[in-house]
């Protein structure tokens, strides 16, 4: 029956048969499978984008606390740094400039504020220090807009209690702005 049908489908010259054509369908299907598999394997190795900004921001938040060019108390005589103890004279934008790179992809603002009871008993204005003041002001509106995608900026923030060199307590409010 099938061979009869095959002879009916044969062309006039008789040099091509339906069973050969059906065989090529399988070959084509497997060729497509192999091609797609190869494509996906190669694509899996190409990582297009992974967001590392949260890690970088967290590292840079801690950086001025634990670096001798940061704002922690530093005894140059014995070369000892006191992480968690802030030297208020070093809490300046000029000091933090030492920590920024040539073209920083993350900039930060550090605000020294009072503890909540001190704030309520005798309010003082917060003191600010920036790693890169100009760039921070430039990026601030972009971060506030929370725009997604290329060219956007994302803010990362934390609160941390520190001791001032005179023994009082303070809250450091940190905001890092990173490029998307």
């Amino acid at each position: 029956m099938v061979s009869k049908l095959g002879s009916l489908l044969r062309n006039k010259k008789g040099d091509s048969t339906p069973d050969e054509m059906i065989g090529w369908i399988h070959r084509s299907v497997f060729t497509v499978i192999v091609a797609l598999t190869t494509y996906f394997i190669i694509r899996a190795f190409i990582v297009t984008s992974i967001q590392v900004a949260p890690i970088e921001a967290n590292v840079l938040m801690s950086y001025p606390h634990i670096h001798k060019d940061g704002f922690s108390k530093f005894d140059s005589t014995i070369g000892r740094l006191y992480p968690g103890v802030m030297d208020t004279s070093r809490f300046t934008t000029g000091q933090l400039k030492l920590l920024k790179g040539e073209k920083p992809s993350i900039v930060g603002r550090f605000a020294r504020n009072q503890t909540i009871i001190d704030y309520h008993l005798k309010k003082e204005e917060p003191v600010y220090a920036y790693t890169d003041f100009d760039r921070y002001k430039l990026w601030q509106p972009l971060a506030q807009s929370k725009a997604k995608g290329e060219g956007g900026k994302t803010p990362y923030a934390e609160l941390r209690y520190v001791t001032l060199a005179d023994g009082r307590g303070a809250i450091i409010e940190t905001v890092m702005i990173a490029s998307n």
Binding site: V2, T17, P18, D19, E20, M21, I22, G23, W24, H26, F30, I33, V34, T37, F40, I41, R43, A44, V47, S49, I50, Q51, V52, P54, I55, A57, N58, V59, M61, S62, H65, Y82, P83, G84, V85, R109, T115, I116, I117, Y119, L121, W139, A143, Q144, P155, A157, E158, L159, R160, Y161, V162, T163, D166, G167, R168, G169, E173, T174, V175, I177
Partner: protein, 265 residues
């Protein structure tokens, strides 16, 4: 006359391939499958899961809260105890605002977290500090704890007073607040107050021993319900020497602030 091509075709099945073809296709498919399994790339089929990668990085970022906790407990211990006037002014403020403090307790029967009032007797703490000015005068917070231990160990009847003094002073020094924007009423002054748990263990002189959470001698925490769910807390422990040559273990359980409470750019 039969050609060679015609001869080969005659050996094939009715659909143009024989068993050898079928087995070669199956074998080829299995080889490809094994390569995929060996390479162990699930994303071959599902595409690159960048969200998963991002979440892993976020976990790492969260773990860096431990760095923050370590520096915070170090800062706590180095904080200079205020002069009497300033300390008592802070305690007075606490007395006036203690009705606004809320914490959370877990119902042992249902396991549900419920809001609870903070049990703080500032008057009792002030009376103790009045009778023992040496525990805070010219000391930092670490020295304050060390001095409390001397009283705690020597006078059993003073132990409750020591516990309350620790609770009140720690709260007065380190309590934090978040402006919640609510209207002022009898239960709210516009702030949500919180204090990450601080516990002190005088008994455990060996820092290598496992912690006995329920047996900490002194402890204080103010964790309103708003503080609890968002991120996993981390614990930081520091050990300080005491006058009687034993050690005190101080534990800070740091609850990172909710992202909506953090400063805006």
């Amino acid at each position: 006359m039969k050609t060679a091509n015609h001869f080969n075709k005659s050996k094939r099945g009715q659909f143009g391939f024989d068993l050898a073809d079928i087995f070669s296709y199956i074998g080829y498919f299995i080889v490809v499958l094994i390569i995929i399994i060996i390479l162990n790339i699930p994303s071959c089929l599902t595409g690159i899961d960048t969200k998963k990668a991002d979440s892993k990085l976020q976990e790492k970022a969260d773990s860096m809260a431990l760095v923050s906790a370590d520096t915070q407990i170090a800062s706590y211990l180095r904080t200079q105890m205020p002069e009497r006037t300033e300390l008592f002014a802070k305690l007075d403020w606490l007395e006036q605002h203690k009705n606004f403090l809320r914490t959370s307790v877990v119902d042992p029967e249902t396991g549900i977290t419920l809001p609870a009032e903070v049990k703080l007797d500032v008057g009792q703490a002030k009376a103790f500090l009045n009778s023992h000015p040496d525990v805070y005068a010219d000391k930092d917070y670490s020295g304050f704890i060390s001095s409390l231990q001397a009283v705690y160990a020597a006078e059993k009847k003073e132990q409750n007073n020591v516990k309350m003094a620790f609770k009140a002073v720690t709260t007065a020094l380190f309590i934090r607040g978040f402006s919640n924007g609510k209207k002022l009423d009898k239960n709210n002054d516009g702030y949500t107050y919180y204090l990450s748990p601080v516990s002190v263990d005088f008994q455990n002189s060996n820092p290598g021993e496992s912690g006995r959470d329920s047996d900490y001698d002194l402890s204080v925490e103010i964790l309103p319900g708003e503080m609890l769910p968002e991120r996993t807390p981390v614990q930081s422990i520091q050990v300080i020497p005491l006058a009687d040559l034993t050690l005190a273990k101080i534990r800070l359980t740091y609850h990172p602030e909710r992202s909506s409470w953090l400063p805006q750019p």
